[in-house]
């Protein structure tokens, strides 16, 4: 960490390739890509919110009519016994 190169941040001299006119759009596209890739970082933290609704796993497809008919009477009683929440 003591070299002049690192502290000054200067690069060593190097040969810059000739820039042809047709290279300009390619360079522009590359710059654009780098800028766009960097954009999400600017927004800061990714916030994860808890779902508002209670998580209910739906497995309705596997429930047969037979089961529903068997439970119907008890479910009806349950609804009547808990009228405040139905």
């Amino acid at each position: 960490m003591t070299t002049a190169k690192l502290t000054c941040g200067a690069q060593r001299a190097h040969k810059v390739p000739m820039q042809e006119p047709w290279m300009i759009p390619i360079r522009a596209a590359r710059t654009m890509l780098v800028v766009m890739a960097g954009l999400p970082m600017l927004t800061g933290c990714v916030t994860v919110n808890a779902p508002a609704e209670p998580i209910v796993i739906e497995l309705n497809i596997n429930i047969t009519q037979e089961v529903i008919y068997r439970l119907a009477e008890d479910a009806g009683n349950t609804i009547e016994a808990n009228a405040d929440i139905f």
Partner: protein
Amino acid sequence: MRTKSVTLFANYAVAAALAFGAVASPALAQRDPAYSAARSAGQVGERVNGYLGIVGSPSPDLQRLVDDINNQRRQVYADRAQAEGATLEQYALTAGCLAISRTTAGEKYQAPDGSWQTRTSAAPIRDPRCP
């Protein structure tokens, strides 16, 4: 014998009423006024899965109300499902069938395709498996 037991029951009822004051026992309690109002206004509706849903855009108060009721329902479903040897989802779906049947005109319910419907005097659109 019959009159005696009725009198006895009445005594118990009076004793219970005195013990609980003006508060009715939870099992026979009526809907919370806010819940009743939200139902009548079509802000909440009965979902196919046996739980309450919010029809429009949820406000924090409404969300809290619905979450609270749904948590209580799930508890009841879980208890009864276990007693009946069924799964929570089976029991909840069955209760959903019945809860949708019991909606009154103007209240909202969810059709099997997931859309919200307003109950009319006609029978509601329900899952074909519903009793």
